[in-house]
Subunit: 478 residues, 4 copies
């Protein structure tokens, strides 16, 4: 099934419990903190449903292409193409668009035996997701508070991290908190799991399952919603549409039926399901493609900003723009290379090249701050020249002065202000501040990403280079 | 005279014309966009008036120490001490506190003959400032729009940059725009001038003069006022108090009496008054000291953040904290060195070592983004765990959950949130975004700062090192 | 024809005139400054001749794969495969191996009409090169001294840069100097040209032609030959074999027959032949692949060095190794991506994706110094613990002490020393110093590479991203 | 006593046992591997003896100023002045000039009670050093091999690290290896100790003592001596004079009389003597000053190199030079600041500000590689244009060509070559390679330096900044 946007919006009005501070949100599709981002999500569904390139058929059923388990390079290209289309709609500003967790699950469904006795559950969940065109997000990190369980036990307090508190014939009951369910307010279901290794004895915490966002007992605690604080689309065009939301997921005795349980009482497996299947690879390829869309906006902005002051004619500025273009293309190359050097998996499946994918992930994480800083450099100090807001256009006298004094030979006053406000929303607003933090920790602390790179590297091959070289000569004779 | 804070606030209610977008501000001391920062400025006056270390006496009159023209190293230390006290009150977040432009003017008053026929005006203005304890700010950069005067002439439009449009016996009349009068809404007077070289034919633009903020014809166009958008002090403790404001200064036929004119019809002199006097040095020493105060907040925060999660016990994190401390001390050293290697000027005056001052300025400009980025790194992804706002403490059920689930062994929930919100206001809020942009362009584009460093470097000495070395050996014999 | 190594060495004994300082080299294949590198080149020819994957057939003739004009993605892969095989033999330490200039010429032969009246010459030269398996190098930069021709004219001195001094029915006569013919002492022919734009009036300098290294009037002035100064292979295993040589080419009335002339009296075309054909792309793809081979040695060494002290078990070191692996894979991805997103050219030719290629070139140039610096970091201060040379193994008493005191649980003394010496030859020796300089200026100053990236970027597309976004909303109503 | 240079050279002919590989060096003052550096050291003694500013008097005896225990700021200035004079003679290329270890010992003599029962020994050793004008170096790091003592015990091999193997009434007997006695071949005595913390049970290794370089049983194993491989002073002017040497110190049953023992059987104290006295501070202040002298050479060279091609007239290059000057001045400021904010110690002693000193140490270590890389950038690719050596000037025909073709309007051919060779010796030669490694590990791995910075930071003060700020507001009312 391919949902339309309005169908998806309808699904969001399901009684879910969302708090912004102490305020309870009645309807996320109309609330001023979420409505525009909700519309952005809906537009993704409409775009996807309208274009046959973005779906595939199996047994006469049409599914979104991000549920495609690839058998050929063309299949991989098809996946990438849809990721790209989605990412470009949001300029890479939605980290957890509907294709992210779907890709994880699709990848896991390519090596389901890893799940042991829950293999069938996983496969059925995959079927369910693609059939219903489910928008899944995930909460796979324990809250910081969870690191010292003894502390809570001593005080007779509940251990804050989400865990199974009870099981019975029908399923398990979970309670506790999990972070950071980005996009959850706009999604249908939340995948609960553990991307970070658990201690061997954290068995109840190893629960991996899926729950509807509106499941009884589930509460979302949203971080500050920037959309609500954007004075207008003109002032904050990105905040306005693309604030994807982050929420803590609080579960209070939430019942999960067995068929939605994928890992239980197995601390090692809880993490391996991502690594020993193409799950992590499919999901993070999406993230590479998403970041690439952001790079396109950044490079375009860099050039437009330079043109707005005529600076693009200065050789040193042209060099800077050339470097921006080089960075965009570098990532483009790393993504295309993942298809060129695709990996074969058992059963004839194909995945993107995992080493290139992790390398790109490392590159994005390492580079984002300095790329934004380079854009700051181009924007200059003049960014604060602009009036507080565009309401000046509504007062004739101010409007006249504004238009006369703020225009340049390159741009009219209002257009200049519009451009600078857009740039500011990428480098200086609170929305921008969240992105600076978010990209840095997109996939966890830097050591986590580098450990992925370490794990997948062909060390024997690298060592052989050195050993063969050293083996080809000895200690010289006297 | 040493003003008190309340006297200063009273002075700000003087009919000044300030716009935030199309909204006209009636009273900057009570308006929600400015009132807290106004109070911060007032507190500086109270602090200064209450402590005899922060003033000096001349002919039985007491003046603020930042008006002291130094004759000894102790005098320099006295200046630094007051800069420090002011900067620490605002954690270095006020770039244009009352001691900045005052220091410029004081420095200029140490080599007033540079001003030629206006020498006396300058000296009297210095007397006036210190006697009245004037808070001066400046607007010394042309708006970006001003770069192509032909463009406006062709359209029969006023050239946007501020210039003399008429002169008569009483003085000159100026019209046009000048940027970026940081702090102007809280100040008494604006120094109009040109820190960036003018073209030789920009004679009317060379005007350098002082005008009261409430002079007829003066309008301030404020950028977005962040203070107003801070939900509470708890959410944005820095935005709340330390948003110093930036304004475009628009002059419409503003009359300036001759005695407040310091340069007129001299494009070269307009810039040289800062460089050929200790003006630039005194003013920017303040800026070094101010940044140093910010470093102290950053280093303290880095450590408290690390402690909040127990991370400070990890050797790699301790190394990071050690590096933060090293950076703080590096700047401390560069500042102290300016006194140790103070420069002698004619008439027995003393200035801070200019090369060290410019080096520190370069260091601050180059380093700020990465220092903040390092703080981001320490804060981690968990910064988005926090509820949208602290209103959760007012709903008993939410409060109970919040306190139980968000606390850690290191900190209670509300304290943790308070700490993270404070950090966020330094790394992620729009106020933080403005600081990232501001510090990078504090003294203009990087090439401007490096050119100061180039100009003051003892190239003959450096060349001699190379030449002497090379002169000590020749081409070896056959 | 596929030459063997010994055939190639025989060709090098052709009376070529090579100077090392004032010393004239009789035979580059036996001279202690060049003999080992000559052998390395010969080994490339042997390797290539022995493996059918590395050649292709056209009209029953076998040619080296780097002469293949690609029509399919598989053709591109075939090219890459041979570049890789060559680069791995020399660990990427030969910048101008036989596949570099050959690739330039092959690329130019895919769009020969650009050459105008010399089109046929170019095609015949391409035929000649592949038929004779010619090792071509190039000299395509004017000497620094050439920038101010007036200076020399005033003194009645020859203008130093190479130029046509005379032409007649048989061809042209060239005189002057050109840099930097890396590899020339080991090559058959030198391509003379201009990679950097000429001034419009530099017509005689626009000459683009090919000359045999032993042409009468040609002298090579070698830079210091590091190979000669390597005490032994054990001390400097890389210097020993891989010092590819750099030479200034001095031409004194060298006659060039018309059929070897490709551009004449056309300052613009002299440069465009590289850019308007796949020449620059084919040539620099080789350079990407070459650098990648170096990365493999670097990553292997990094790991072996870490293991030698047991440091590889420290998490922070593992993270560093993971980052090294990420960098290697990033470049790998950028190279593979060039095939995935190959470009179509007229006549059904295919080239590597040029934007990814230039992006990779920029990445290599930007990253090399810091990659080597990271390797330095891993090597630690202990690198100077090693005895001056391995001769200690020939004195029984020293040997005993050396083996007892320098061994570690991880490695025996001599093996440790061997490993450190190898690392040193990549990070610290004069050979290493040359590589640090060479990679930085491999393709000219950084602005040249960034300008390539600027030139090939799809600015319309990038601008459209911004314009469409900005076009989707306007000034909000009152 | 103030030694002359020739007296010092005479002292070096004392039967010391030095090996370069398997070659035994008879006389370090005449051996081609050491003679020029020996002369450089001698010149320091002559310079010092000839200038009364560089000594101080106590009880009518004259001592070198680096033995001065400071009581006043002027005393500190006197110390700095001599460090500067020495460092400028060698352009900061001698890390362990005679003022380094002397400063350590002088600093320790300012808080000798720390040494407990060996207090008197330390004070007498200080007296001895200054009276005899002793050139001391040190070996204070265990060889890498020493980390796993069990490994050697299991094999019945001597544990490689230096330790006390026996003690009797006269003193202790030490055996084993210690690194890295930079400068030892030119010194009189070696201080044996432990700058890095020992494990609590490493009691025999805790020995801290002084031994003459020619003590029976002491052998120095030199690393490769670069001086010997420098073809001429013209080719490698820095290698020629300033290769200070690094040696492993091998002790085979070396007898140390009790009066030269300073720590024994105390693993904690072995390290604390540096930290709990001004020793570490005095010693590393010298290192700051030394690096500063190097900066002066670097900045001078950067400018001369830019001038050699006329590049200094390009604004972007001028900005680069301005940045070089800023870096030089930044360090200058950090050094001067150490005097301005000098610290008081018990008994009226004064030390340089330790936090600024450690900050400067961190700055030098962090910055050196990139500073050299920036110099590489300025040198460009043209550095390989130069002939292999200057012998071309001895062949008339080559000389004529060289002078005609290699000259530029800015410089004659031989002068240009001389300048580039000098630059190369700082950025590209093996001597340069050693400096790149050496500065990075000058004071140990980066975490060691940052831990010094951590240890000395006033955390209470930094925390107070945060705590006071946070204490000034609470949770807002409902």
């Amino acid at each position: 099934m391919l949902k339309t946007g309005s169908e998806h919006l309808r699904q969001l009005r399901d009684g879910r419990v969302v708090y912004i501070g102490a305020e309870k949100v009645d309807d996320v599709t109309t609330h001023p903190a979420f409505r525009n981002a909700a519309r952005t999500v809906a537009a993704i569904y409409d775009m996807k449903a309208a274009d046959s390139r973005f779906c595939f058929k199996e047994q006469d059923e049409k599914y979104s292409a991000y549920f495609l388990r690839a058998k050929t390079r063309e299949d991989l290209e098809k996946r990438t193409q849809l990721h790209q289309a989605i990412a470009r709609m949001s300029h890479g500003l939605l980290g957890r668009s509907p294709d992210h967790v779907s890709s994880f699950v699709t990848g896991m469904a390519m090596n389901a035996p890893v799940f042991g006795k829950f293999e069938d559950n996983l496969l059925k969940y995959y079927e369910h997701m693609r059939r219903e065109d489910v928008y899944g997000v995930y909460a796979v990190i324990p809250p910081q508070a969870a690191r010292n369980p003894e502390f809570y036990q001593k005080q007779n307090l509940p251990i804050p991290t989400l865990r199974v508190v009870r099981e019975d014939d029908d399923g398990v009951v979970i309670s506790g908190m999990k972070m950071l369910a980005t996009g959850a307010v706009f999604a249908n279901e939340i995948w609960i799991g553990n991307l970070i290794p658990l201690a061997p004895n954290q068995l109840p915490e190893s629960i991996t399952c899926a729950i509807p966002v509106n499941a009884p007992g589930v509460t979302l605690w949203s971080r500050k919603a920037y959309e609500r604080h954007a004075p207008s689309e003109f002032e904050n065009p990105l905040t306005w549409r693309f604030d994807e939301s982050d929420s803590m997921v609080m579960c209070d005795e939430v019942k999960v039926p067995w068929e939605k349980v994928f890992v239980h009482m197995d601390a090692v497996l809880a993490r391996e399901i991502y690594i020993k299947t193409p799950g992590h690879c499919y999901g993070n390829h999406q993230s590479n493609v998403r970041f690439h869309a952001k790079m396109r906006l950044i490079v375009g902005l860099a050039s437009r900003i330079a043109q707005a002051s005529g600076a693009h004619e200065i050789p040193a500025v042209r060099e800077v723009l050339g470097r921006f273009a080089a960075l965009e293309a570098a990532l483009g190359g790393m993504i295309a290379g993942q298809i060129q050097d695709a990996e074969d998996w058992p059963q004839g499946w194909k995945t993107f090249n995992r080493r290139y994918m992790y390398a790109a992930l490392n590159w994005c994480t390492e580079s984002h701050s300095q790329i934004i800083d380079a854009l700051r450099e181009l924007c200059g100090g003049g960014i604060f020249q602009m009036p507080a807001d565009i309401s000046v256009m509504h007062e004739p006298k101010l409007k006249a002065q504004f238009e006369a004094y703020w225009q340049t030979p390159q741009l009219g006053a209002a257009e200049r202000m519009k451009l600078y406000k857009l740039a500011w929303d990428l480098i200086g607003s609170e929305f921008a501040g969240r992105h600076l933090q978010y990209e840095k920790f997109y996939a966890g602390a830097s050591f986590i990403i580098r450990n992925h790179n370490f794990r997948e590297a062909p060390w024997d091959g690298f060592h052989k280079v050195v050993d063969d070289l050293m083996g080809s000569y000895g200690i010289p004779a006297h």
